[in-house]
Amino acid sequence: MALTPDDPNTTPSTTPGTTPSAPPSGAADARPGDPLEQATALVRAESAEPPQQWGEVRDRIRDRVRLLVLPAEPVRLSRLDGAAVDDRDSTMTVSSRVLRAAVRQRLSGSTTHVPDAIDLEIEDELLTGLRLELVVAFGADLAAVVGRVRDDVAEALAALLGPDLGFGTPLRIDVEIVDVVPGDPRLV
């Protein structure tokens, strides 16, 4: 049998009257009452509790994450009359980060599916399509899920960008189911 430094079989014999000539790997820390073993056990016990300053560190991490601005692109709002500019010849845009968050939130309320990826296709500040990857609960009616997801996504985007999402042409929403999991995909 191959021995490793972790293997209890590498522990030297401590039979009274015998002294191992050359301790094998990791021998010194494996004896009962060994100071290293005792100290290690204490450190392990210490690790089971959050460190004293952890609360402050955690709060700083959360603050920094909240303030961190990830790369995003502007997406132009549509108007009922199909015009891309308003009366003052100016445009209004929404960050792609906001759109992704809206789609994610809209799709996070169901026990049957959850988004795994949300890719917005943007050309010249116009949303031209959206590609969704979904994780679905085992046993869900896939066709019904996809239909429902398309409706939900279109509704969430229209609430932010205006009703004419594709500026005259229907917005393409591709949905791919990439995984099926047993149970609520938001938790599994």
Partner: protein
């Protein structure tokens, strides 16, 4: 299967996969659960890796999590989430140790970090000194040996997970662990 609309409930019960999936799409609540789940262990690890310097350990863990937040979209799930997070801590700690001049270990700080046995002041003092002695001995190990020992002995990682976290071959993990244990055993021998 009937579709039910409901809130996801307690995210703290979500699997790592589910949390990563949500965090990848920008869900800060899911990321906060990851921070709560693995942060304390990462902070302890960083603390021991940088020899008990609070501020350094805090900086290392913060930077590791910011890096995780930025790059979680590229986390492919080939390794465990925990292993990946510890690898981020390790990289930042090594960078910091390279930049930092050696400084004496703060014995008072080490004592503060040591567990206290409420009902036996003598035992408590001995335990605190034993842990402080181990921390001092750890500080004398080369960083990779120290990291391997900590991940194995305090985080209970497998050799494969340690290899992944430190980006070294499994055979090197065995070697570092063997040498680290031997050195620590020698340093701690005076406590017999």
């Amino acid at each position: 299967m009937q579709e039910i609309e409901e809130s996801p409930g307690d995210l703290t019960e979500a699997s790592d996969d589910a949390l990563v999936r949500a965090a990848r799409l920008g869900d800060q609540d899911a990321f906060a659960v990851i921070v709560d789940r693995y942060g304390p262990g990462m902070y302890q690890y960083a603390m021991r890796l940088v020899a008990g310097h609070d501020a350094d350990a805090a900086e290392v863990v913060q930077e590791a999590f910011i890096s995780a937040w930025r790059s979680i979209g590229t986390f492919a799930g080939r390794s465990q989430l925990r292993t990946w997070l510890f690898s981020l801590v390790h990289r930042r700690a090594v960078d910091l140790l390279r930049k930092r001049r050696p400084t004496p270990i703060d014995d008072e700080q080490l004592a503060l970090e040591s567990p206290v046995a409420d009902d036996d002041p003598l035992r408590s003092t001995i335990d605190a000194e034993l842990v402080a002695a181990l921390q001092e001995a750890l500080a004398t190990l080369p960083p990779t040996q120290r990291a391997v020992w900590l991940l194995r002995e305090t985080e209970d990682m497998s050799y494969e997970e340690i290899a992944e976290a430190l980006s070294i071959p499994v055979g090197s993990v065995r070697g570092h662990l063997h040498r680290g244990r031997r050195t620590l055993a020698e340093r701690m021998a005076r406590w017999r």
